[in-house]
Amino acid sequence: MKRIWRRTAVGLGVIALVATVFATAGGAGAQRKSPLAGYPRNQTLITSGSQWGNITGTNPWVGGAATGTVGLLYETLLRFDPIKGQYIPWLASNASFVGNKYVINVRPGVKWSNGQAFGAADVAFNLNLARFNTNPWNNLYLNVQRIVPKGNTVTVTFKSTPNYVQWQNMMYNMPMVNPAQARPAITDAAKLTTYSPANPIGTGPYTFDTAGFDPTTRVVYDKNPNWWAAKLGVSPSPKPKYIIDLVNTSNTNSLSAVLAGVEDLNNNYLPGVQSLVNSGKVLTYYKKAPYMLSANTAWLEPNTTHQPLNDPVFRKALATAINVNQIVTQDYGNLVLPASPSGLLPTWSKYIDTSAVKKYGFSYSTAKAVAMLTAAGYKKDSSGYFMNKDGTKINLDLSVPQGWSDWEAARDMIISSAKAAGIQITAKVKDYNTWRDDRNTGNYDLVVDNNYQISDNPWTYWNGIYHLPILTTGTGQTNFNFGRYENQTAWALVQKLDATPPQNTAAIKEINSKLETILMQQLPIIPLWYNGQWAQFVSKYWTNWPSSTSARQYTPVMWNGYLQMTGIDVITHLAPKA
């Protein structure tokens, strides 16, 4: 018998060894020579919570690129601070409209990571990439007459009234790639979508670590020792020598990784994280509720082509029937804030017309919801539910992507509070793809959704809500107006806002106020709560995290679009733990 066990043990050992070596050789793609025996933990910032699924490379235009592609590797002409509501001059010392021309003054002394100077021609090259119809800013390029680089300045002239808002928004979102590297590679629209050089050249504070990159696990960045912003004294030089961003795992694993000090910064929504903050194990932007800065508005999206959701009175009654505070406190444990009736994010608070909110806003009241429906002529059936005006039964379906547990809980709370007001809603379970396709094609009554992140201008929010025309072929509604709300007046106002010069503040205020009023009167979407910029950090290796009580009031997320806000400032202000 002993012999059997000895053989078993030997066999176990041998096979385990073979397996390990096998995995080493293939899966990990071992490099033969590396200057390091591992990235020293105390010089490395480890982040996670931005990358869903494999990392596809560093294409900055078409999504799915490595976290930090824009922000760490490639930079933008301006940045935008959503807390202060200000643009931050970056690769451009200034970029703004002068009359109906757009003038970009390139900052002298900016260098690419290969040491060459960054100049006006580089800016023009990147603006001109929008000529390809697969570029996200192609619609703006269609209105461009000329892009003229001269000295340190790039001047853009337009065929007709410029898209003032969209241009300004583009300035802090369009990445500047290296023309010497990109020009030979991007020769047509298709090649723009596949561009991902092995050793990308950027202007950013970090460079891409090709040896460390593992598409299923992580992206690694090495500090750019000659980063222009540190040399010019525009920004502190970041202390982490390496940044490693890990692909998302599960919520449990993420939480454990934060607590074990595997990750320094995590940007996943971790339910119940407030108890860890209260016990001092984890840090967040605010020490108390709501703990997080707001990132986007979660709303209930009614399909306005379906009866009775095509009736604004019914939508308003439905909005009044929903107990949002219950969702905020019980579902989210106060990790989120209830939304303003206008749905405008706190970053846009200066645009909120308080008198309009007072006049047209809504607040939770079951009795009021019942009274509104009764006054509008809706009658209840024998089971106590309201019926359509033509006497047919109302039973609305409400769906959220299956497995999004916080939204599933919110859905159930919406259903029960609507029930109290006599509105019958039934949960419909759909996996994400079905949910999305049904939403895009209008095959739903109600969905919970959140589409537009914080930005420099509420136009991005209005454009999403009121966009016309409604598309019924090809993609259906991909990014806009899923509720199929048709209001030509509102859509004209959105376009007018885009065509209003930024100096014309009175007109901008007025348009925003009108759009808010329409939203609150008509409720094409029913604002519910503000999702947070989920960010939890630990001070095991790095300190000086952003907080509401310090001077470091920055957006603490690595998500796409946030590093070029003030996410990069989070990194440049970190200090190694003493």
Partner: protein
Amino acid sequence: MRGYFLRKLGIYAVTFVVAVTVDWAIPHLMPGNPVLTLVGRIQVQDPRVAQNLYHHYMRAFNLDLPLWKQYWYFWVSLFHGDLGTSILQFPTPVTTIILHALPYTLGLLIPATLLSWYAGNKFGALAARRKTLDNTLLPFGYALTATPYMWLAILLSWVFAVVWHVFPVGFAYDPTATREWSWAFVSSLAYHWFLPFLSLFLVAFGGWAIGMRNLIIYELEADYAHYLEALGAPQRLIRKYAFRNALLPQITGLALTLGAVIAGALVTEIVFSYPGLGYQIYRAITNEDYFVIQGIFLFIIIGVLIANFVVDIVYIIVDPRTRIGMQGSGS
């Protein structure tokens, strides 16, 4: 003998064509359009751009063609060794994804399957002879094999990784490791490998042990065993024969398990965030990544067919009755 192999090969060829056709058809018949995911994640402010991107990707993936043409191109590409391009991870080729993930899965499942088979059979055989083992450890085997695998994996991960921090919570190696031929890296790989391996090993071990124990008891009650006993053969010899006979169904079982080994790691890899093929299939299915689904299942199909073929050969070697049967049919 030649006729036997030709016949077998013919059956395998037909099976291959049918299986690959089903493999192609299932993802294509799934509801939903994966290109919308791709377009949806690009931040655009104008639907015209979204439409451009949509048409661009539909063309790039040949999804704008009629289904019969897509099917035809699929076979043409297959014979050129091209499994297509991932939709979700555009423009990564499917073969790159598979080759990257395959070693992790094989490194996990081959040892777990072989070791559990070997150890489980030995233990089962032993248990059949020893009352004490049969009464003490075997119930443990029953418990293991009856445990829902997912539950066991989550339990192990929770206890050892999340609560006690004895093992890491995910990935195939430490995030700060540099990938090189060094002791540090290899030990990091082994450290991350152990817990998913253990979970697979434990469940399979229980199954094999119980199977073998029951088979041995059955064989010891067979006529030939009693006959040998009556002839005065030593117990050891009888047990040896019983073990050999009992091993045959277990070999078939092993072959089938090995064939499906690639898909077997699905739950393990999700629970332990282990970047193998199972994890890739899961991601691909939830995102309707047609070509990755097809590519990975193609590997499984080929794996099962090869494993079956190997078993046919192994059977000829280990079971003399098969050889005699073939000679009989040949004469």
